[in-house]
């Protein structure tokens, strides 16, 4: 199993470790609910060093990314971040990712840990098969540690340690700066729906950065957060997770990601299949639902409408903020639109579920 540079720190602190996408990662420290609420109310620190980083540079880097990704790279300026996806010709998703623009000829892609090798191979294949020759692709995943500092107290905590005026750093923008005298990328992004930062530092600096942030943040309620709360936090905001809401078999258009699928920007991989599917009418759609009765909706549970099975839960949990079952479900478009009464099958019971809107919280 792969380990992040912080693995020993997690073990020493008594975190419960699990295998996640080939990585030995902390799933919880003090408890999922406690950690979840700390991020909503104060601040939390995540080790996300398992995420992959792929660098793309060269005169044709822009043209290549415009062809390889679904969002419109032309909308990015230097120092800005964009949420986007890589798709297959079929329109299914290779991975979702954040794209960082340093300059018109220099970008960094932050990709899902378990997809890093697949993504890199896919980009190399596209590169070799396309006419975009003047660019270089480098998998820099092992060179970075990445920590996420998230929550309403994140700015106050980070301000104590950085030379950057964080009030000038807008959401989905980044800067090169120092934190605790270590050089890094400071990005105002995250996966929790709270204000916060993702910090990309040298792998060797990861443990020191973790300790310095915890030390500076303890007085502000900062605690370490595991993958368990990372999942409940993202789900309360309705953010997609690869392998659940989006897969090689699910198009972004079906998964509420039309906003990162710019069909009018010109040719890109997967566009033809998406246009065809849109023309024919999408057969299914991802919808957010809240359980009206007791229970916890979970991945794979079938969804019913008037006695017919109409889809399944892609992600579900007991929302720690609402103390209510919440889920994202992929269902037939015919029932997605209206306010039809839905039910989720939980073991032998069919529990009523209300169609709702995002975010849940």
């Amino acid at each position: 199993m792969k380990k992040t540079p912080l693995n020993q720190l997690h073990r020493d602190s008594g975190a419960r470790m699990v295998e996640f996408g080939g990585w030995d990662m902390p799933v919880q420290y003090s408890g999922v609910i406690n950690e979840h609420l700390a991020v909503r109310n104060a601040a939390g620190l995540f080790d996300v060093s398992h995420m992959g980083e792929i660098e793309i540079s060269g005169a044709q880097a822009f043209d290549f990314l415009q062809y390889a990704t679904t969002n419109d790279v032309a909308r990015l300026v230097d120092g800005q971040v964009q949420y986007t996806a890589l798709c297959y010709e079929t329109g299914g998703v290779v991975d979702d990712l954040t794209l960082y623009r340093f300059s018109a000829e220099h970008y960094l892609l932050c990709v899902n840990a378990s997809n890093t090798d697949k993504d890199f191979a896919w980009l190399q294949k596209l590169h070799q098969e396309s006419s975009f020759s003047e660019l270089t692709l480098v998998n820099r995943s092992d060179e970075y540690a990445q920590l996420a500092l998230q929550g309403p107290q994140a700015e106050t905590i980070l301000t104590k340690l950085t030379d950057i005026d964080l009030s000038t750093l807008k959401y989905y923008h980044f800067l090169n700066g120092s934190v605790a005298d270590m050089k890094m990328i400071i990005s105002r992004t995250g996966y929790t729906g709270e204000d916060g930062f993702e910090l990309y530092c040298a792998a060797a600096d990861g443990p020191a950065l973790w300790q310095q942030l915890l030390k500076a943040g303890t007085a502000h309620g900062l605690i370490p957060i595991g993958l368990g709360a990372r999942d409940t936090l993202r789900l309360e905001k309705g953010y997609a997770l690869y392998g659940h809401e989006i897969t090689a078999e699910i198009m972004p258009l079906e998964a509420r990601l039309a906003w990162i699928t710019k069909l009018k920007k010109g040719p890109f991989v997967g566009r033809e299949a998406m246009l065809e599917a849109k023309e024919a009418g999408l057969s299914r759609q991802l919808i957010p639902v809240k359980l009206a009765g007791a229970g916890v909706p979970r991945e794979g549970y079938p969804v019913f409408c008037a006695g017919d099975e109409v889809g399944y839960v892609t992600s579900g949990t007991m929302s720690p903020s609402l103390k209510q079952g919440i889920a994202l479900a992929l269902v037939d478009s015919a029932v997605a639109a209206g306010d039809k009464q839905l039910e989720i099958a939980i073991r032998k019971r069919h529990v009523p579920a209300e169609r709702t809107s995002l975010p849940f919280v």
């Binding site: 419960r16 916890v296 007991m318």
Partner: protein
């Protein structure tokens, strides 16, 4: 971790308190710690009958669903009605306020199959 002396235990991490022919059943301190924050509890109805090893209830944490199995055969005579509304009690008080059901034994000889506190502690620490 706590292993009260007066209780009997199963390999599925249930505890049993024996009072003549009625037993009180719950999940152990080890079980609640492994599960993490309990968010949902499903209990049987009074009058339901369960054979040894059959699932009589479900405990769900944020991340996992776990069946709870009948340590001995019998009929449910009482359930902890407060538990579905306050599932976190299973974490805070697994051996007292977190009891799940009371069951009238079919065959008291089945109690001999259960572990005592020392044997269960050894089982958990070896696991």
């Amino acid at each position: 971790m706590d292993f009260p002396e007066e209780l009997k235990y199963t390999e599925e991490h249930e505890w049993v308190l024996v009072e003549e022919d009625v037993v009180t059943i719950g999940i152990t301190d080890f079980a609640q710690e492994q599960l993490g924050d309990v968010v949902f509890v499903e209990l049987p109805d009074v009058g339901d009958h369960f054979d040894t090893g059959k699932s009589f209830g479900v405990v769900e944490s944020v991340k996992a669903v776990s069946d709870v199995y009948a340590p001995v055969s019998g009929e449910i005579v009482e359930v902890n009605e407060d538990l579905p509304d306050e599932p976190e009690v299973l974490n805070n008080s697994p051996y007292e306020d977190g009891w799940m059901v009371k069951l009238k034994l079919t065959d008291t000889a089945e109690l001999n199959e259960l572990m005592d506190a020392a044997a269960y502690q050894e089982f958990v620490e070896k696991d």
